[in-house]
């Protein structure tokens, strides 16, 4: 049972600001993902929670008690690293037992706990193997067992599955989620893989250039990205530059509905591919565009559409819809977000034009 509070966390490496004013709270039993592009400071943030890096300023509290001044070996956190970090000279059981031995637990208790934790990660019977005799996936499971056996208040994971192949990665993250739910342990999971974050997290903190851009549930991050960066980073998105003048919003030469009360000036309009619907006839409020390219992705197709005076758009097409390259499609945006100057976006939702119904 544990909560984690970060207040005003900064981290400076020489002239590089790796983490910039991070503030958030992780609730008891919550699974939080930190998601962001390479080099945005995810690992640095996690390593400050673990105690491997000292924040330049700010406070880290676990269960309301500051741990900022504690060294890593005194913090109630346990970490699973990206690289394989089992100690090669110790057997699996010794790797897991090491932390317990440091806590001077009786031998019988240690043996019992090692056994239970191996069962938890489905590796019973692997006690006497050496790390070199395990596959990458098995090694990471042992690393997870080694972290969990200490019953940490906060479990930290830094891209633990990123060196595994895609199928194994999916399997292990499902297993991790199951274990985390069962133990109700508070966890922070760092990844640059948005699918991983969207499937695992209770909440996602999207990080960019050292700071948190948005912290919300996956569905909310997907539906209302709070900034252009998040809009672009999460999922497929069409970002179209536009201008507002006299209350009218122009995308290139085409007018679209503007949200109320928008003053004149440049904006960016974000449309998810799935919010573009194909009409069967041209409409004043729809765009007639040429199909540039169609890619078959199994149960749906992705197409790239073009028209003069407008940038190309990504769109998803159902299999049943007839479309071919060089053909024309009439598309209509039924929902979009309008961004201006780092402010929260304004949402526009439109009903379908009458004749399309």
């Amino acid at each position: 049972m544990a909560t984690l509070d970060l207040t005003g966390i900064y981290k400076q490496f020489g002239s590089v600001t790796a983490v910039h004013d991070v503030n958030f709270q992780v609730q008891d039993g919550e699974f939080m993902c930190i998601l962001g592009p390479s080099g945005c400071g995810k690992s640095t943030l996690l390593r400050m929670v673990a105690g491997f890096e000292m924040p330049t300023s700010g406070d880290i509290r676990i269960d309301s008690e500051s741990v900022t001044a504690l060294s890593a070996n005194r913090r109630p956190t346990a970490m699973v690293f990206q690289k394989y970090t089992l100690w090669p000279h110790m057997k699996v059981s010794e790797n897991i037992a090491f932390g317990l031995q440091l806590r001077r637990l009786p031998r019988a208790v240690i043996e019992q706990k090692v056994k239970e934790s191996l069962a938890l990660v489905s590796l019973s019977g692997y006690e006497d193997r050496y790390p070199a005799q395990l596959s990458g996936g098995q090694q990471q499971r042992v690393a997870l067992a080694r972290a969990l056996v200490l019953e940490p208040k906060i479990l930290l994971l830094d891209e633990p599955f990123s060196s595994l192949d895609a199928i194994l990665r999916v399997r292990l993250r499902e297993e991790l989620r199951r274990i985390q739910r069962r133990l109700k342990i508070t966890a922070i999971f760092v990844t640059h893989d948005q699918e991983e974050a969207l499937t695992l997290a209770d909440r996602i903190a999207v990080m960019n250039a050292g700071h948190i851009e948005q912290l919300a549930a996956p569905s909310e991050i997907y539906a209302s990205p709070s900034s252009l960066f998040v809009a672009d980073f999460i999922g497929a998105m069409n970002l179209i530059p536009g201008t507002v003048s006299g209350g009218r919003l122009m995308l290139g030469a085409l007018p679209v509905d503007a949200p109320a009360g928008l003053s004149d000036g440049p904006v960016t309009v974000a449309i998810r591919p799935e919010d573009l619907v194909v009409l069967d006839a041209p409409q004043a409020s729809a765009w007639s565009m040429t199909v540039e390219q169609i890619s078959d992705l199994g149960y749906y197709r992705r197409a790239i559409l073009e028209m003069p005076g407008m940038q190309s758009l990504k769109i998803f097409l159902p299999k049943a819809l007839e479309a071919q390259e060089r053909g024309t499609l009439h598309v209509y945006a039924r929902r979009y977000l309008v961004y201006r100057d780092g402010n929260a976006p304004q949402e526009v939702v439109r009903g379908l034009p009458v004749s399309a119904a």
């Binding site: 890593a72 100690w87 000279h89 090491f98 932390g99 440091l102 080694r146 972290a147």
Partner: protein
């Protein structure tokens, strides 16, 4: 494979693999010269010497005898010199590790300007020949040497020079062994990744526990290599003990030289040499086993 495969499809001519006996022959031809050199310059003379120490002339026919060895171990001077050599070697080794482990750990984990300077300093003795080092140490440690002068300026007059005492040998040998030992240990320590150390700290280990339980077991090979090679160098050392050490007892190198050159007893010198050689061979074997096990592990993984 079928013979007609070439008629079914056009294949690029692949170079015929060299027969393995030819590869082996080339390899042996390449290593033959140094190997022969070693056989003729080292192994055969050593075997001949050893054989001579074990033979006695009985009316013109050679016979087997241990008398020379019995004489060596019954001679109190010989035995005390052998014991002294062991003593100096083990004490020197202990001091070397006490000095070099902190240095190597520092060089492994620190970075920046100071670490660079320490690195250069640690390697410095490598470029100083033993004789020069010995005279420098005499100047520094001798009566009215630099240290003595500095201490008396500071008002401390009780300084007794270690020059011509066993301590001076240890001092000189330690100084000579630092670069090699630091190099080997630092290279070994670099094999232990930061992540392995961090994960140990993460489960609660302090620096001391990390050193004993995580680092040391993983660098046992470099430690054994440093131990055995230093042992060989120290046990058979000559220059430093000759120039810095006492007249008695003597280390085996000095003892041999005196027996041979001053007392003109080449037979006894030969016996001393064989005994020294056998002791070193045991340690040499330890080294060979360590290196071989490392090689085997590298091949396995």
């Amino acid at each position: 494979m079928k013979d007609d495969s070439d008629t079914l499809m056009t294949t690029l001519p692949t170079p015929a693999p060299r027969p393995s006996w030819r590869k082996a022959a080339i390899a042996y031809a390449l290593i033959a010269p140094p190997l022969l050199l070693m056989v003729f310059l080292i192994f055969i003379p050593a075997l001949q010497s050893t054989a001579r120490t074990l033979t006695v002339d009985v009316n013109g026919t050679p016979g087997f005898t241990l008398s020379r060895y019995i004489a060596f171990f019954q001679d109190p001077v010989s035995v005390s010199n052998l014991m002294f050599t062991f003593q100096i070697t083990l004490i020197t080794l202990l001091v070397i590790f006490l000095v070099c482990f902190p240095l190597a750990l520092y060089l492994r984990f620190a970075n920046g300007r100071l670490a660079g300077a320490v690195q250069v300093l640690a390697l410095f003795p490598l470029f100083v020949p033993g004789v020069i080092l010995a005279f420098a140490l005499i100047r520094f440690l001798g009566t009215r040497g630099t240290l003595d002068t500095m201490l008396s300026i500071a008002g401390f007059t009780g300084f007794r020079t270690p020059y011509l005492k066993p301590d001076a040998i240890v001092f000189g040998l330690v100084w000579e062994s630092i670069p090699f030992t630091v190099l080997v240990l630092t290279a070994g320590l670099r094999q232990v990744s930061d992540a392995l150390i961090e994960s140990a700290r993460d489960v609660g280990a302090n620096n001391w526990q990390i050193f004993w339980r995580i680092i040391l077991p993983q660098i046992s090979r470099p430690v054994l290599i440093a131990f055995s090679l230093n042992f060989l160098g120290i046990f058979g050392s000559y220059t430093i003990p000759y120039l810095l050490g006492p007249a008695a007892p003597q280390m085996m190198g000095v003892f041999m030289q005196q027996t041979f050159g001053q007392y003109r007893r080449p037979d006894d010198a030969e016996t001393q040499a064989v005994i020294t050689f056998l002791i070193c061979a045991v340690v040499g074997l330890l080294y060979v086993r360590t290196v071989a096990s490392q090689r085997k592990q590298e091949q396995d993984s």
